[in-house]
Symmetry: C2
Subunit: 564 residues, 2 copies
């Protein structure tokens, strides 16, 4: 259990049971030896908690967690010392994990199948029991949980839109969990409520709404943020639906790209529109909505007597990273009096970059915007904002004026209570880590991060676009960091285009991915799209990634896939 | 900045700029002095990271955060040492906060109005800027954030249903944020996905569903869990609504108690039923649904040609802590073929107690159950489960089969991927802290916690029910830990019941609450309910609370309110 402390060059000392390292009965000579030893170790040890292996040994010898239980921790009487010792052990486990996360010589993951983990890996027992486990076992469980997990901050983890492990963001999240409060009232989250308000205003300014006016809220993720947009749009056009239900409105129609995120479809099912009333728009070869197709479908819906109400333009699609042409879509929305939502869950971060924000030109014409700092901006999960241009709608759409939660006769200005704006009641504090990162990096820091990720994806694109065995899914430099490509094993390269080639190619990416995961070296996503068979979708949002990691990925794919 | 370290009895040493404490140029004599000093401080210091103030000073003297920035932390080259130093400083801030949280001599909060905080308290500047701040400033910001916040784990914080600071749960949350992953696929959250599955099964067993069969998911809170229940019920009875919208169904009617949580109303608005189609049920004087009223209203709705579809029974109402009679409601649901949901967000925890679980008798007859471990069970926010008796409904209701997220051709058993069950896409890991607490406490540990809280509320009830100046809102021992009462200042006690008395009494609780918050000594909620003017609602879920804290609260109310 204490194996990872063995950085001491000295032979093991005789055990001193529950006795401090620096006791009064130490001789002066021994003290000198200790001091020298401390010097040496201090120079070696990077983990501050372990500053001086001697000190660390002192700490550990003293606390025998095998006889301690949760009930011995605070608020237990005299529980303070054990509590601090326990938390420090946890911190050591976490800081070790963090160091390994950034170390390219470690694996991204140590893959096991569900049945293997369920059977219990080397004593890692997931089952819950009647009786308490010792804190020693709890610490072992924490180590095991991390051991069998996936290092999403590893420089070679490219599997998701959310990657990386931002240290300041992490510190913010540790503080958030320690504060353990709830966003619904100013009363119990005064600082966080104000941080949310100021940060949302800043985001609206960056979108380009005059003086940052408008409204917004942090929600548990992009899908919920997108759901908010549909709800608010409905409330704007047909407020009576709130009280009378969907039958009070005519048949309402929504529009989104065939490449858009499935959350718009989930929202249309959940909110009672029905997925059939969500019309999918055609895209060009790069995955961008064709505005003329939108207009044609709007006209068609109107001819049927339906009411076109809502258009979602995606800023950064999930697979291709495509940006729909917002200005042209906004023209059509204005012409036909429809709500324009921009789903910038993935691409919103580009607004922070003077070089790349033009890809969202027209975003200031949107009625609402989803923007997930937990994706491109590297904020720890969860952190997603829904921003609304017209003030008051969010509140009026969701307000139920529950007197037991939101008392109008409190001593402070209760307009700061946010609970009645939300579809939630209690709401997790998602703002602090983001606010803290913004403070620590400045706006310019986010810009640098985003520019660097886009540079890296251009590097990858240029490296593979004409490379033997690689074939791009679409031509031209990607708009976002998404680089989509097939890898063709040697045996497929000569095959003529046709069903056999398609079928075989469809199986290549899953096979390579499975081998990557088994070896644990890297992770990258794949999927089919429309009539295109499985291809790799490389995305870069990880601040730890460098060109060498891109090179590694390409070589790994070639090595694993060459002879498939 | 380092003020809280001044536990050293020594006079301040001359500054050693960026030079370690134990340097080679220290004389032997100085070393001896240092060792003695270390001994003394070690004995005093309880915070392990500070074990030996000398060591702490060494650490701090070495790391000058005023010249370090976020860009110097990992993944920066050679950023490991600064990263560890920075995280350790954060941990010190947090452990200091934790110690103070449990210390009754500290305040619960240091209240300021929004405008005061926005103006910047003693240099605490909430505004975001272009340029980065130093890590020293970031550490100051973290201290300030906690300073102006509310200690929700303080033994005298009684303001919300979620109180307390569980140390193991906190450790679990720190680990969760370090792992920074997403619940949507087994691929990137293998351990957490399995923990969720096993924990949900255990919860279903405790509900009483045969062999723990069924389904479920952790959601971002009770309101969303309740929304799930309405969606799933609709899908069960009218699956075509998913594709065709609410107009494909007849006029559907939902039922819930007038005392129930407003999230049922929010769900009926959001999902397209309309709040007018949510029928409120009358309750008895204790806030429990009157089953005969439900049946009468069901019959009335049917006579109008509407379709009664869904009944919510609350297990533990927000204000009174009332438990609706589930068995009698279940009989009516069976008779009229309606979905029975039990909202046990607050009261579900009582299922863990052999002594109190009878209050939820009949819960095993529910079609779905909301149960928030982040309330009565003391799990850190957010942790809420929606549990469904019939397997498959959750998946079929929400599934959109997005190929880019959920590839059927992965190398592992993809039935473990949970993303398509959710209305969310990405989903925060809410399970680990709960799983870890369950391991650490055992089922028996939760039972003891719950029994203790209910004992404490009985103590409060017995203390004040006949006490001069106190008047209970309803008669009899509360079913949950909610104790609802008015406090009557001396001047009101002689007044006859009437409008003047009501008006004056209505203002008493807000005034006392404001004074409590200004002095920062304790916090307890108040609200009106129906035609009852503002009264205090005391709730106990805080494991740190003892009888002495209850006594303190009562005395504080008397002291502040006596002469109002």
């Amino acid at each position: 259990m204490y194996g990872k402390c063995n950085h001491s060059p000295d032979p093991p000392s005789p055990p001193r049971h529950r006795v401090g390292f620096l006791q009064k009965n130490n001789s002066l000579e021994e003290r000198s030896r200790i001091v020298s030893s401390l010097q040496e170790r201090t120079a070696k040890s990077l983990l501050t908690c372990d500053n001086g292996g001697g000190d660390a040994r002192f700490r550990r010898t003293e606390t025998d967690f095998s006889n301690l239980f949760a009930r011995d921790l605070l608020p237990a009487k005299n529980g303070e010392e054990q509590t601090m010792q326990f938390l420090l052990e946890i911190v050591e486990i976490l800081t070790n994990y963090i160091r390994k996360t950034f170390d390219r010589s470690t694996k991204v993951l140590d893959f096991h199948h569900p049945h293997q983990l369920l059977e219990g890996m080397e004593g890692f027992n997931l089952e819950l029991s009647e009786q308490p486990e010792s804190l020693e076992q709890i610490l072992v469980d924490c180590r095991d949980t991390l051991k069998y997990g996936v290092r999403t901050g590893h420089p070679r983890f490219f599997n998701q839109l959310s990657t990386g492990l931002d240290i300041v963001g992490l510190a913010g999240e540790w503080l958030t969990s320690t504060a353990n409060t709830n966003m619904f009232t100013y009363e119990i989250a005064p600082v966080f409520v104000l941080m949310e308000q100021l940060t949302l205003k800043k985001m609206r300014e960056i979108i380009g709404w005059p003086e940052g006016e408008g409204d917004g809220i942090f929600s548990p993720g992009g899908a919920i943020s997108n759901m908010y947009s549909v709800m608010i749009a409905r409330y704007k056009y047909f407020p009576e639906v709130k009280t009378k239900g969907m039958t009070a409105a005519p048949r309402l129609v929504l529009f989104t790209s065939e490449h858009s995120h499935y959350s718009i479809k989930k929202a249309s099912a959940a909110l009672g529109f029905g997925t059939e009333n969500l019309i999918l728009l055609n895209t060009d070869e790069r995955g961008r909505v064709i505005p003329a197709d939108l207009e044609a479908k709007v006209i068609e819906a109107k001819q049927k007597g339906h009411v076109p109400m809502f258009v979602n333009a995606t800023a950064g699609t999930t697979v291709y990273g495509a940006f729909d042409p917002i200005n042209e879509i906004a023209d059509i929305c204005e012409k036909y009096n429809m709500w324009l939502h921009v789903d910038g869950a993935w691409g919103g971060g580009l607004l922070m970059s003077r070089k790349h924000r033009h890809k969202l030109n027209g975003v200031e014409r949107a009625n609402s915007v989803t923007w997930n700092p937990h994706k491109m901006m590297g904020v720890p999960l969860q952190c997603s904002a829904i921003l609304v241009r017209e003030r008051g709608l969010l509140q009026n759409c969701n307000s139920m004026s529950a007197g037991y939660l939101f008392q109008p006769d409190k001593q402070y200005d209760v307009t700061y209570d946010t609970g009645d704006k939300a579809i939630q009641c209690g709401r997790h504090v998602d703002i602090f880590k983001f606010w803290l990162m913004w403070k620590a990096k400045g706006t310019v820091g986010f810009e640098q991060h985003i520019d660097k990720c886009l540079d890296l994806s251009a590097y990858l694109y240029n490296k593979i676009k004409d490379r033997e065995g690689f074939k791009m899914v679409f031509d031209g430099e990607p708009q976002h960091t998404n680089v989509c490509f097939w890898y063709l094993p040697l045996g497929l390269r000569g095959l003529p285009d046709g069903e056999e080639r398609r079928e075989r190619l469809h199986k290549v990416a899953p096979k390579i991915k499975a081998m990557m995961m088994e070896s644990g070296t890297t992770m990258v996503g794949y999927q089919p799209q429309g009539n295109k068979v499985n291809f790799f979708r490389m995305v870069i949002s990880n601040p730890a990634a460098t060109r060498s990691d891109i090179d590694f990925l390409v070589e790994e794919i070639e090595q694993l896939g060459h002879d498939l």
